[in-house]
């Protein structure tokens, strides 16, 4: 049985390793999140916004040309069609409603690829709430369109200039902001990471993905279960959402795809499942990339959303327990998949999602298998990167 316990542990992973300054915030959330989510008015508003504002259900699309190429039934769960272009908004819609009910007046968030920052800025605009987004300086450069979008939406983007100047550091800065503003501020974490109850709360908001997959697969194939679900894992929120209702169905294989950067052992990688060891990052006991002395290692991936040295505790548990298979994909493999999928299906995936597609080249499957790839986001934000590397892949 894969489940989270009372204290926020999936097996030995999870918990809430937070400074006392954050205790009231986290405790308030921990005590209330399940009750608030179970409340009828919350549920109603959440579902209505998912439908009318986000555009859910996101389609489940049988990709015929990919299916032919890979000789299997490849379905794409189209989170790229959500408002703002990725799965991230499922969670931010939920959390802004949560923040409203907790009486918060100010929202902070961290972002890597900028999708979570945009999704947060979006729901803050929707509700007229102040929004500050922390983003690594390097990510600000490589995901410029999303920075522009946040500005349009009225959010303030604050650069994180320490460490690797990427997602990890943006998260540090967001936590520091929260410590400094413990009373009126809600921190909308963008993935299934952070102290309990965040991993569980975010997974629940994202679980709408697999909730829809159940009936959509039934409609398409006659049965609820696919043979394989593939999702990329930065922190792991899109994967958590895609796996959620299948976690305890052992017949469904779960494939978690992480970024191997220039190669797993190149020293420039974010392949946490291989390189990670148990430790604490951002308030959670999980797998992370660190030195023997416990210093967190700066990760690398071409994909800002996967460029993170840890994974959510649920995924640490799924991988450690053997429930999920981890696959590591290099920058170039992901780029090749992005070009390939764009031309085969007319869908330009996000760089993060391109890693998930690459797993189709790595895993074993039968020609009768139904494989769902969670298409976590669209690639508009990555066009500059795609164009930069285009010629190298098109001789």
């Amino acid at each position: 049985m894969i489940a989270i316990d009372q204290k926020g542990y999936y097996g030995e992973f999870g918990g809430a390793f937070i400074p006392e300054m954050l205790y009231p915030n986290i405790e308030e959330l921990r005590e209330q999140y399940l009750a608030i989510m179970a409340d009828d008015s919350f549920e109603k508003e959440f579902r209505q916004l998912l439908k009318d504002y986000v555009g859910r259900p996101s389609p489940l699309y049988l990709a015929e040309r990919l299916s032919e190429h890979y000789q299997a039934y490849i379905y794409l769960k189209r989170e790229d069609l959500n408002h703002t272009g990725a799965h991230k908004i499922n969670n931010t819609v939920g959390q802004i409603l949560m923040a409203e009910r907790l009486g918060k007046k100010r929202i902070i968030a961290e972002t890597g690829a900028g999708q979570h920052g945009v999704a947060t800025a979006t729901v803050c605009a929707l509700k007229g709430i102040e929004c500050i987004v922390y983003m690594g300086e390097i990510d600000i450069q490589r995901q410029a369109p999303n920075v522009a979008r946040m500005k349009m939406l009225g959010a303030e983007v604050r650069p994180a200039t320490s460490g690797s100047k990427t997602l990890k550091d943006a998260t540090n800065e967001a936590i520091r902001d929260w410590i400094n503003n413990p009373e009126d501020t809600h921190y909308i974490i963008g993935s299934v990471v952070g102290p309990h109850p965040y991993p569980d709360m975010v997974a629940r908001f994202q679980s709408v993905i697999s909730e829809e997959m159940l009936w959509q697969l039934k409609e398409h194939t006659g049965k609820e279960d696919p043979d394989v679900i593939i999702a990329c894992v930065g922190g792991g929120s899109n994967a958590a959402g895609a796996y959620y209702h299948y976690l305890n169905k052992d017949q469904v294989r779960l494939v978690a795809v992480e970024a191997a950067g220039h190669g797993i052992h190149s020293g420039e990688s974010a392949a946490t499942s291989v390189l990670g060891t148990k430790g604490i990052i951002h308030g959670s006991r999980t797998l992370l990339m660190q030195t023997p002395d416990g210093q967190i290692v700066e990760p690398y991936s071409i994909s800002a959303g996967l460029d993170y040295p840890g994974i959510g505790p649920m995924h640490a548990h799924l991988i450690a327990s053997g429930r999920a298979e981890a696959v590591s994909i290099t920058d170039d493999e992901a780029l090749a998949s992005a070009y390939f999928v764009s031309k085969k299906e007319g869908i330009i995936p996000a760089l993060e999602t391109a890693h998930a597609f690459s797993a189709l080249d790595k895993i074993e499957y039968d020609s009768s298998d139904v494989i769902v790839v969670n298409l976590s986001g669209r690639g508009d934000k990555d066009l500059a990167t795609f164009i930069k590397h285009y010629d190298r892949f098109h001789k």
Partner: protein, 262 residues
């Protein structure tokens, strides 16, 4: 009796606890800093283990940690520096760091080694009391180490009592809910909070930390607690220091109000 307990038994007020980052400004400045602080009149020293991702610290301490790490500081080096410094001083030493560092060293090993080299107490800001009670309290007690937990203006009365019960040595009273080095001065709101805690008659002595940087803030803090903790302000002084001993002497004098730095 631990050095920390002894200190608080002997001295009830104006206790000055100064934090520094081990390995900063130089890899081997640890001993000089400790001995200078003692000489200058600090009562207690908080030795920071530099960390890549110090969530609860402000930019000054973060940057000093980065310098220390690029100087090559590791836990093993730090422990042997303390071990040899301990031969020369009896000042209470509190180790401050993040729990991941403890985990990677091996919890039991870490606590044993602390004891061995002459560390007296611990401050582990991201080790919550639930985890402490459940997994580490016994180990730490058996190693004979004191431990300080934090309380903040937002901490409930019930929880303060619980924290007071678990704390051994002194309570770390966060002056306002913000990270180190973030704000200046002490407000009316804070005074009300200090008074509220004072009225609670807790068993542990209390030191006020965060935002203490000079004689004014130190004196105010000392009116409401047994003393105070200074971190970022001292690091900032060290950063530009030509002579650790002299800088430290002047800094402590300034804080104590014994002379004004020119």
């Amino acid at each position: 009796m631990s050095r920390i307990k002894k200190l608080f038994q002997e001295k009830k007020e104006d206790i000055l606890n100064i934090y520094f980052t081990a390995g900063f400004p130089q890899l081997d400045s640890t001993e000089a800093v400790i001995l200078s602080l003692e000489k200058a009149g600090a009562d207690l020293i908080e030795v920071g283990m530099p960390y890549s991702d110090p969530l609860a610290d402000g930019p000054t301490i973060q940057q000093s940690g980065q310098v220390a790490l690029s100087n090559g500081m590791t836990l093993d080096i730090l422990f042997s520096q303390i071990e040899s410094t301990r031969q020369k001083t009896e000042i209470p030493l509190v180790l401050m760091g993040y729990f991941n560092q403890v985990m990677q060293y091996g919890e039991q090993q870490f606590f044993d080694r602390c004891r061995e080299v002459g560390i007296d107490g611990l401050i582990l800001p991201d080790l919550p009391i639930y985890e402490y009670e459940t997994f580490y309290q016994d180990m730490i007690e058996q190693a004979g180490l004191d431990i300080s937990f934090l309380i903040t203006p937002q901490t409930s009365e019930e929880r303060i009592l619980k924290i007071d019960e678990l704390t051994r040595g002194f309570l770390y009273m966060v002056s306002n809910s913000s990270i180190t080095g973030a704000k200046k001065g002490i407000s009316d709101k804070q005074v009300a909070y200090f008074n509220r805690i004072n009225d609670m008659q807790l068993k542990n002595p209390r030191l006020i930390g965060f935002g203490i940087s000079d004689n004014e803030t130190f004196s105010t803090a000392c009116q409401y607690a047994n003393g105070a903790i200074i971190g970022s302000a001292y690091i900032n002084t060290l950063k530009d220091s030509k002579d650790i001993r002299e800088t430290t002497l002047e800094f402590v004098k300034m804080v104590r109000g014994e002379s004004v730095k020119v």
